[in-house]
């Protein structure tokens, strides 16, 4: 192998050359001081390239860099990520405003329905409510009155 053939092989990473090339290069380097010097230059240059570019990056102020990246990512990209059940429910409400308004009325509608139910049942007589009161050794009792069921909270049953 001559210098012209050896020079492009200089700076190879370990195992990068095929065994034949590696053997020829080794034999050439053993006898050619100029190519050994070129090899040293390649190694020196490698270090300079890394140091120089990292040094240039180290000098620059990166305080605004990540903000710039985050600003270029649309907010919708984060919403595309897998969400938990609560997130999915919120998203459903956000998309369906009618549904959201209806869901807000659910507690009020339930209260009215309960009131009407009790009122109507109360009007037919206490016996139809089938509320059984067992007060023995209990501190709390439910009484049926003409106005509907009344819950009596007792003082407790200490000592019983």
């Amino acid at each position: 192998m001559k210098c012209a053939g050896a020079a492009p092989l200089l700076g190879s990473l370990p195992g990068e050359l095929d065994p034949g090339e590696e053997a020829l290069l080794g034999a050439h380097l053993a006898t050619c001081s100029a190519c050994r010097a070129r090899q040293a230059d390649v190694e020196a240059l490698s270090g300079l390239v890394r140091d120089g570019l990292r040094g240039a990056a180290a000098k620059r102020d990166f305080s605004a860099f990540s903000d710039g990246v985050m600003a270029r990512i649309p907010a919708s990209a984060w919403r595309g990520a897998p969400a938990g059940p609560l997130d999915r429910f919120r998203e459903l409400l956000r998309r369906h405003r009618v549904l959201a308004a209806a869901s807000a009325l659910v507690p009020a509608l339930a209260a009215v329905a309960l009131y009407l139910y009790i009122d109507r049942r109360g009007g037919t007589g206490p016996s139809e409510l089938s509320v059984e009161v067992t007060s023995e050794d209990l501190a709390t009792a439910v009484l049926q009155t003409s106005d509907g069921p009344v819950i009596l909270v007792g003082e407790g049953s200490e000592g019983t």
Binding site: C3, A40, D41, L48, G52, F65, M70, A81, P82
Partner: protein
Amino acid sequence: MALPDLELVERARGGDPEAFRDLVVRHQRRVYAVALGIVKDRDLAWDVSQDAFVRVHQHLAEFREESSFTTWLHRITARVAIDVLRKERPSRRSDVADVPEPLLREAAPGVLSTALGTDPQETVLRRELSARLTEALGELPDLHRTILVLREMDGLSYEELAERLGIPKGTVMSRLFHARKKMQVLLTGYAGIDAPGGEEAP
């Protein structure tokens, strides 16, 4: 304690913006260094770096943990930088003559390594040349600068370079050789190093 890259990737995939921001902050300078080496303009390198992170975010779901996050990130950075070069300077394909051939002949073997000495950290000359490295890279043709940066910053093998750049392995080796030779000429010129008569084997 700082979370490993893969943990941050997982959280970012799950929709955690701060996890992704942590990844950006952790890798931003190295990404910028690679981009600067390839596109050579500082502002353009800044844009390329940010664009690379945006692309990484877009493709987080496709990231397979067979390679490291750093390797994947640098691959995307190099691709963005090379695309930018092609768009910016489509006419400059190969300009080997940018450094005159007589200068190449004057680059005597061993001059650079001898001048830099054996201590890789502490010579004044090394610091001076490191500071002017981007200037020297900027003098190289795009093709030479790109292949040299990918080799030295990312440690890509001949095969990986061939695949990345779409050229045969032999062309990779030849192009790297010329890129290094030109850099040696430029750097020894900056340093004012006199080239002694080189010894040539047959």
